[in-house]
């Protein structure tokens, strides 16, 4: 069984082919890193997997269940969670409310027009626990506007983890972070249990290579190189893609 299987995935924007026959097979519990130069199609691949974009061809399966035609929300209910390259949070709310909304999305309670949201003790307790897990427990009642960039990155991860995902897509989780913050996020990712499969896009090779077990190198919308860390680093095509011939 694969946690995530992408087969012959095609996507074009007008005449521009952004992904061209991508194949990926990611095992349960695996830590997969996707790298590639700017414009290689990495974020588009995530958008296709998450359901934000519809593919022109090919298929996607989550734990052998086809999800190609499912809307984004249904994929979330099947255990697919993601973070965004550009932080996408609820800026008017507190950290606690951000994570509570994340939990509410998978609860039937989200349709209830009578139950007060701020009186849902079980959701709030879970949200506090998720924030504590990423080291933000003491800041739960602070407004998002009063937090640093690094703290927002951790809120994004807390929201994704609160969804109790089976597959977690992390789109450049280290982008824009200071050295200290990178260390914190790296430790946080290392603490995620193995029942969660992680696929990560990252440009910072120093932190990302330590994390990944297998690496896929994307170039011009296709997987150019794939293998273990040692295999990918040793492959001349990797150097060619990053440094040119």
């Amino acid at each position: 069984m694969t946690a995530l299987a992408v087969r012959d995935l095609q996507k074009s924007f007008g005449g521009l082919r952004v992904t061209q026959g991508i194949h990926l097979e990611i095992a349960p519990g695996e830590r997969r890193l996707i790298i590639g130069p700017n414009g290689a199609g990495k974020t588009t691949l995530f958008n296709l997997i998450a359901g934000d974009l519809r593919p022109d061809g090919g298929s996607i399966a989550l734990f052998d269940r086809p999800i190609t035609r499912l809307p984004t929300r249904a994929r979330a209910h099947l255990g697919l969670a993601r973070t965004y390259q550009i932080i996408t949070l609820f800026p008017k709310d507190t950290l606690l409310r951000n994570v509570t909304l994340s939990l509410l999305g998978l609860s039937r309670l989200r349709w209830n027009p009578l139950a007060r949201l701020d009186r849902q003790a079980h959701l709030i307790a879970q949200a506090e626990s998720a924030l504590a897990r990423v080291g933000l427990g003491a800041m739960a009642h602070r407004s998002l506007a009063e937090t640093s960039y690094g703290e927002r990155r951790r809120v994004e991860i807390a929201m994704a983890l609160a969804q109790n995902p089976r597959v977690l897509l992390l789109d450049e989780p280290f982008a824009g972070l200071s050295i200290d913050e990178r260390g914190e996020v790296k430790a946080l990712l290392a603490s995620i249990p193995r029942d969660i499969t992680i696929v990560m896009i990252e440009h910072d090779m120093d932190v990302a290579l330590d994390f990944a077990e297998r690496i896929s190198v994307m170039h011009f919308g296709a997987i150019a190189v794939e293998g273990t860390r040692a295999e990918v680093v040793a492959d001349p095509r990797t150097k060619e893609i990053y440094l040119g011939e």
């Binding site: 998450a50 359901g51 934000d52 809307p71 984004t72 929300r73 979330a76 209910h77 969670a81 993601r82 965004y84 996408t88 949070l89 609820f90 800026p91 008017k92 709310d93 409310r97 509570t100 909304l101 994340s102 509410l104 999305g105 998978l106 609860s107 309670l109 989200r110 349709w111 209830n112 027009p113 009578l114 139950a115 007060r116 949201l117 701020d118 849902q120 929201m159 969804q163």
Partner: protein, 318 residues
């Protein structure tokens, strides 16, 4: 008792005693109008303030309810049946409005709701056999719930106040509920909400239906208050007015739409008796609000109070 509770208690007392201290039936009817337009503005602001969707077609829903009541009463239905039918027809109309307009957001949503509102205005104006065209339709009588006639302005005001209080409470429960939280999330980050498992379209649709219900309640009350309904009730200005009321009072707050309706209705019906260019005055008020309290009167006043308190707290004690 906090200052907020004192203000609320005073406001309730003032509202409940309007027929005792307001001089004459005309001004009591104006007070009823304020409450009716407050309900209507709450309806429009549910979409603007909590869903991020500006509707310029709610006049169509408001008038649909008012016309349905008038037509049903004219056809010999009782008040109870006419009111139920008006709510049902308006909810059906709301579902059509929502299904068509929620295909898009932003300017596209505004334009579709504007077009739908104009269709309703066109029907009111041209479907003479049903609506009476330019001549409109008269509402022959008002209901008498529990044997209490609402024929007098004072009794009608009391009934309107009860309905208004129920609507305001329902609105408060709705926007503070788990569903209200979902709705606000779709306003701020619709893409993120989808990724979190929310059905963004359906959440907006349900909110639109509740908004349509409130518009129906306001339209029914209006038909009974005015005892007449004609095409201007469905015109573009009828849709634009509650938008202005919501924005001037404070969109996305519970009291903002009420204060906005109070302001506009007083200028329209009271100040206009003394100032011939009241339209210009209303425009100037809107400009001043946008310049000095762009968030609206209620949140703007709250901001000023907070600032004053902070200044007082900082001031050295002697």
């Amino acid at each position: 008792m906090t200052a907020r509770r004192v203000i609320l208690a005073v406001a309730l007392l003032v509202m409940a005693t309007v027929p005792l201290w307001v001089p004459g039936n005309y001004y009591i009817s104006v007070a009823s109008d304020i409450l009716i337009y407050a309900i209507f503005t709450l309806s429009v602001d549910l979409l603007i303030g909590y869903a991020g969707l500006v509707s310029l077609g709610h006049g169509g829903l408001f008038s649909l309810a008012a016309y349905t009541v008038a037509v049903c009463l004219g056809a010999g239905f009782g008040h109870f049946s006419a009111i139920l039918l008006a709510i049902a027809v308006t909810l059906a109309g709301t579902a059509v409005f929502a299904a068509l307009s929620l295909r898009t957001t932003g300017v596209g949503f505004i334009m579709i709701t504007l077009a739908l509102g104009q269709i309703m205005w066109g029907l009111a104006y041209r479907w003479v056999g049903l609506t009476g065209g330019d001549n409109g339709i008269s509402v022959a009588s008002r209901p008498a719930p529990f044997g209490i006639t609402l024929a007098t302005s004072a009794h009608f005001y009391d009934a309107t106040l009860i309905v208004f209080a129920l609507c305001l409470f329902a609105y408060w429960v709705f926007v503070n509920s788990a569903f209200g939280g979902s709705l606000k999330g779709t306003r701020d980050q619709p893409r993120r909400m989808s990724a979190l498992g929310y059905h963004v379209w359906l959440i907006r649709f349900c909110a639109f239906m509740f908004s349509g219900f409130l518009a129906a309640v306001a339209g029914i009350l209006f038909a009974y208050r005015a005892e007449f309904i004609s095409p201007p009730t469905a015109a573009l200005t009828a849709s634009a007015e509650p938008v202005l009321m919501a924005i001037s009072g404070g969109s996305g707050t519970i009291l903002g739409p009420v204060v906005g309706a109070l302001l506009v209705e007083i200028v329209k019906n009271v100040a206009s008796a003394y100032i011939s260019r009241w339209n210009m005055m209303l425009g100037a008020i809107f400009v001043l609000i946008v310049m000095f309290m762009p968030e609206g009167l209620v949140p703007g006043t709250a901001r000023l109070v907070r600032r004053l308190r902070a200044q007082r707290a900082k001031a050295p004690t002697t």
